[in-house]
C-alpha cells in the first residue's frame, strides 16, 4: 500500500474522540486536522506532520508555566511603537502589465481564477481527489 493510503487508513481508524488536551499527551483529533486542512489549505500528509504539530504545540505550551498573575497582557510586540501615518497621496499603481505577468492565465488585463471556491472533498473521497 502506498504511504498515502496507509495514512488515510490510519486517519479513518482514528475515529475515537480523543480529547484535544494541551497538557499531557497533546493528541490532536482527526476532526481538528480536517478542520485545519480545510481552513488553511495545508496538507497534513503524514503521521509525522501531525506529530510535528503536536510537538510544536507542546513547545508553545511551556509559556503557560510562566506566572502572569496581575500582569497586563500585551496587544502586540509593537505596542510601544508609533503607527506611521501616511499622507493621502497617490504614489503607487499603474503596473498592471507587471502584475499580470504573475498570473498563469489572463483575459484582457483581468486575472483569471476558477469559478468560485472548490471545497475540499471529505475524508474518504480524498484518495480519488489526489489522483484527479
Amino acid at each position: 500500500m502506498s504511504a498515502r493510503a496507509l495514512w488515510l487508513a490510519f486517519r479513518s481508524g482514528l475515529g475515537g474522540r480523543q480529547a484535544f488536551s494541551t497538557k499531557g499527551s497533546g493528541r490532536i483529533t482527526v476532526e481538528v486536522i480536517e478542520h485545519l486542512e480545510r481552513l488553511a489549505l495545508v496538507d497534513f500528509g503524514s503521521r509525522e506532520a501531525v506529530a510535528r504539530l503536536e510537538k510544536a504545540i507542546a513547545f508553545a505550551d511551556r509559556l503557560r508555566e510562566v506566572d502572569t498573575d496581575g500582569v497586563e497582557p500585551m496587544e502586540s510586540v509593537l505596542e510601544d511603537r508609533c503607527l506611521y501615518l501616511r499622507s493621502d497621496n497617490v504614489a503607487e499603481g499603474n503596473c498592471a502589465e507587471e502584475l499580470l505577468q504573475n498570473s498563469r492565465q489572463v483575459v484582457e488585463e483581468y486575472f483569471v481564477a476558477p469559478p468560485g471556491n472548490i471545497s475540499l472533498p471529505k475524508l474518504g473521497e480524498q484518495e480519488s481527489f489526489q489522483h484527479s
Binding site: 509593537l78 505596542e79 506611521y84 501616511r86 493621502d88 504614489a91 503607487e92 503596473c95 498592471a96 488585463e109
Partner: protein, 450 residues
Amino acid sequence: MAAPMLRRVGLGRLWGFAWVDGGSGHRRGSPNGSTSSRRREQSSVAQQPLHTAQKPRKGGHKWAAVVGLEIHAQISSNSKLFSGSQVSFMAPPNSLVSFFDASLPGTLPVLNRRCVEAAVMTGLALNCHINKKSLFDRKHYFYSDLPAGYQITQQRLPIAANGSLTYGVFMGNKQSRMATKTVRIRQIQLEQDSGKSLHDDLRSQTLIDLNRAGVGLLEVVLEPDLCCGEEAAAVIKELQLILQALGTSQANMAEGQLRVDANISVHHPGEPLGVRTEVKNLNSIRFLAKAIDHEIQRQINELESGGEILNETRSFDCKLGCTVPMRDKEGKQDYRFMPEPNLPPLVLYDSASLPAGTESQQVINIDQIRDALPELPSATRERLVRRYGMLPEHSFTLLNEVGLLQFFQNVMKETRAEPKKVTSWVLNTLLGYLKHHNLAVSESSEKPHL
C-alpha cells in the same frame, strides 16, 4: 452576552455563486468580523426546535420583526487604506493596484491618515465614543478577489463604538407627520475592501480586477433596533446625508460606495428572538425597504404554515421582488482572527493628552477634528425650521432631494417673497413638476430668479 438573536453563524464566502459582481454584496459573504464574531461560532440552530415545536396559530397572534443593519461605506480618499494606489471608480482593470494590493511577498501595510480622520469624523458625527487606542486584525478566508487570503480589519477593538443615529420617519397615510427615532450604533471600524469578481459562467471562470482591493471602508454596525423596511430606509438615507455632509464617503449605493446587509428575524412579542437570515445584494434604498419587508413577510408565512427559518444568507432578486437563498457549500466559517503583526496599535489623542514636540502630521487630535466638523443634516434642518418657520417635514424633503436645498437657498437669496411661499412653491410646484417629468433638480431648466 447580549440577546440570543445576536448569536451568529458566519457563512463566510459564498461559493460558486454566479452573477456579475457590480460592486455590491459579493464580498460580504461574511456577516462581519465585528463584535458579532465573538458570537460567530455559536449556532442559532439551537433556536429552531422552539419554533417547530409550537403549533402555528393563525391570526390574533402578533408578530414583531427585528432588523439589524451592517453598512459598508467606501471612504472618500485619494489613495487606499494601506497603500498609495489611487481610489477611483472607473479605471482600466488592475491599473490602480500596487504590489501590496496584489499581496506580493515583501510588502507591508502603511496606514493612510485621511482614512483615520474619516473614521473619527464619522464616529463623532454618530455620537460614538472614540477609542483612543484601536487595533488591527486579520480575518482569514479564501476567495480569488482577496489576494492575501485575509482582510485587515478591526475585530478586537474598533476605532469607535456605542453611538446613535437619530432619524425621521414619515407617519400616517398622507406622510404628513414626522416622528423622530433613534437607532444605536454598535461600532465603527476601518477595514479593507476586496477586489471585484466577474463571473464568466460560459467559460467556467472568474475574472478578477483588483482596483478595488485595499480601498478603505468604514463598517458601521447598528444594533437591531429597527422593525421594518421603512425604518431601515430612513436610517440609511440619514446615514448617507451625514456621510455626504462630512465628505467621508460619497455613499452612492448604485456605485457600490455604500453597501447594506440586513439581518432579519421575527418573533412573537414576549417570546425569544427568532432565527435570523441575512439579506444581501441591496443596491438601492428602495430595494432595501422592499427586500426587508418581503423577508419579514416570508418568515411570517413560513412560520405560520408550520415551517422553520434557516439561518442562511439570502439575496434580493429585484425582478422577482423577493429574496432567494444564496448557494453556499460551507456552513460555519472560521475566520481565525489574529492580530495584524505588521501594525502597532492606532493611538489617537485629544488636546489634553497630545504629546509635546510631536510632528503634527503624525498625530491625530480628536478635539481638533470635532471642532472642524461641518454642519450635520440634523443641524441644517433645525436651522431651516428656525429661520424660515417651515415644518420639520419640509426640512426633511428639502434635504432628501439632491440639489433641492441649494436651489431653495438660491431662491431665498434672490427673492423678497415670504419664506413660507417659497417653501410651498419649491416643495409642491417645483418638486411636483420634477417628479412628474422624472427630472433631478440639476436637470431642470428652472432658474432661481423670480
